[in-house]
Amino acid sequence: MKLRVSRRYVPLLATLLVFVAIFCLGGLQYRAFFSLRVFTNLFTDNAFLGLCAVGMTFVILSGGIDLSVGAMVAFSSTLIASLTQLAHFPPFPAIALVLAIGLLFGLAQGAVIHFYKAPAFIVTLAGMFLLRGLGFVTSLDAIPVEDPFMVKLSTLAIPLGEKASLSFSACVLILAVVAAAVVLGFTKFGRNVYAIGGSELSVLLMGIPLARTKLAIYALSGFFSAAAGIVFTIYTLSGSAAAAMGLELDAIAAVVIGGTLLSGGFGFVAGSLIGALIQGVIQTLISFQGTLDVSWTKIFVGGLLLAFILLQRVFSQGMKKGGAAASQYARPAPSLSQAGSRAGDPAVGSTAGSGKR
């Protein structure tokens, strides 16, 4: 029994181990590194990345992908900045409006993906273009945020000991992770998300509300990335449409490093949080080191991605062993879920010559 439980959590534990290892490595080299302050700062500095990763976890668990999150962060922060700064909107309605837009935009993307059976990759790519464009339409230049409430939020923190404190953004991130973990682990909706990632066809046959669940998944991703945009605005105290370029990539990397299978159906939201923190700790370590080029961050993250993906392969092959499908040709999760989704939507398979329909 004990062995089985630990087996499920192997990828998560491996991620945690890597994080602890890097953190200790930093602590051995630099005295100031091994402190609660550096640790809590990781949460503050990577809150927007973590929030995107939380939303992305839902999408990837269901076997989809959302490329629009980085652009959503940029658009949300631009919108908040221009609403509070230029239109003198009070901050609360501005924040509520941005969250609602994020939710609805995600919902719309989900609707196109589900009802028109369009590939999530292309739909969310169009979403990314649209949001980046709308961001630039809102304001071409970066807008500083001077709203007293927003400034207050950026300094608000729960003190922990003498030097360390947990900032507002960090609290939002932790709350979001806990909420998402509860939803995924203990609700019907959460189980449905995992089921869709396993096989869309089976979900349909089992009578699980596929449309509702899928739409909700993309709506959640939109909501979380809009929230990330708000946290990003508080963090940088400015709104810029050119911000957070390539953030979608970092979020996907965080989810994968966190042990979630990109083919869907397996993973934990806590892993995604640690995946985001690992990227943050590498960045902090490099800035402590001082001589290494910043580009090493990406190389390290890429190397970690490679290591974790290979680990996942070994792991999922281990799970399959002893099962009926353990022939040498059997491919574990990826091809199974692909076959499922392809059988589920025949329209995608034949768009090239589908004029006859």
Binding site: A118, F136, V137, A241, D293, S295, V348, G355
Partner: protein, 335 residues
């Protein structure tokens, strides 16, 4: 008449061509001088030449991407490979003062190796293509920046710059590069059964494997070729600005290339592919951008318009949407 029309509308190349024609027609009506082509110093100038010139890098990458997508895969690392190839070329020119041949060949070898690395992960370890190529996409720009030392590397080398900015027979050289690559591929597809193998792999990898086809080898070839194509595009883009900028060169070009392939009528789930369609797709994207610029639309609207067109194309390609449309047209709903 009607059956012929129906055959025409069911041809995969028709819709991309109609879209392109619509954009050009719009310009014919509303943009004076759009179709004017001038001869200056023996070079052709004009919006049309500009479109083809600027679309060439995406065309080159879309050529490789079409084959990858036809096998049911995807390669999102091409932008990073563009950066790596450009970085190597820049370092060879500035630090080693290398002659033209190594400046062209070594980056291409590196790019091909990048493609082979992707292929190894996909065929050797059975990793999903989007994840496998994600690794290089994340790492690649970092590697490129490391090669050039973290800043933009400017250089001057007339023979190399010719690849990006030169003219041959009045036309930009890079058009000939794209055409040569396509001709080479067309020759291979005509004289060998590779095209059939690719379609079979994309149609059903399992069935292909059971019928004795080496699916691994087919995939290896297409991903390696995609790397090579990205390398060629990287050389063209680097020569164009006579500088290596690993952080920005070819940014989001993978998305444009994938978009070109999908607009061109190749399905993302693999199987049938349409090389010419992908080229038309690249032309559509570029003529749209050029139109927006020449119409004097504020630059911030470029992406919004692009997004709108992508959404329309996605909907038009969706069988469900076509059925809804057909239901709106009286008389056809009963069919």
């Amino acid at each position: 008449m009607i059956p012929r029309l129906r055959r025409l509308t069911s041809s995969p190349l028709t819709w991309p061509l109609v879209t392109l024609a619509a954009i050009l027609l719009f310009n014919l009506l509303f943009t004076p001088g759009f179709f004017r082509v001038e001869l200056k110093d023996g070079h052709l100038f004009g919006s049309l030449v500009d479109i083809v010139k600027n679309a060439a890098p995406v065309m080159i990458i879309a050529t490789g991407m079409t084959l990858v997508i036809a096998t049911g895969g995807i390669d999102i690392s091409v932008g990073a490979v563009v950066a790596i190839a450009g970085a190597i070329a820049g370092v060879l020119v500035t630090r080693y003062h290398a002659p033209l041949l190594p400046v062209l060949v070594l980056p291409l070898i590196a790019a091909t190796l990048c493609g082979a690395f992707n292929a190894l992960l996909i065929t050797g370890f059975g990793i999903q293509p989007i994840i496998a190529t994600l690794i290089l996409m994340v790492m690649g720009r970092g590697l490129g920046q490391l090669i050039i030392g973290g800043r933009v590397l400017w250089f001057r080398m007339a023979s190399f710059e010719y690849l990006g900015t030169g003219y041959l027979l009045g036309l930009p050289v890079r058009i000939f590069v794209a055409a040569a690559l396509l001709a080479l591929l067309a020759l291979v597809l005509r004289t060998t059964p590779l095209g059939l193998f690719i379609q079979a792999t994309g149609g059903s990898a399992k069935a292909s494997r059971y019928s004795g086809l080496s699916v691994g080898l087919v995939k290896f070839v297409v991903y390696t070729f995609s790397g090579l194509c990205a390398g060629v595009a990287g050389l063209v883009l680097t020569a164009n600005i006579h500088g290596s900028d690993a952080a920005l060169v070819g940014m989001y070009i993978e998305l444009d290339a994938i978009l070109a392939v999908v607009i061109g009528g190749t399905s993302m789930s693999g199987g049938k592919f349409n090389l010419l369609g992908s080229l038309v797709g690249a032309l559509i994207i570029q003529s749209l951008t050029t139109t927006i610029f020449t119409k004097g639309v504020p630059v911030q609207f470029t992406l919004v318009v692009k997004a709108a067109v992508v959404v329309i194309v996605i909907l038009l390609q969706s069988g469900e949407f076509r059925r809804q449309l057909a239901a709106l047209v009286p008389g056809r709903a009963t069919r």
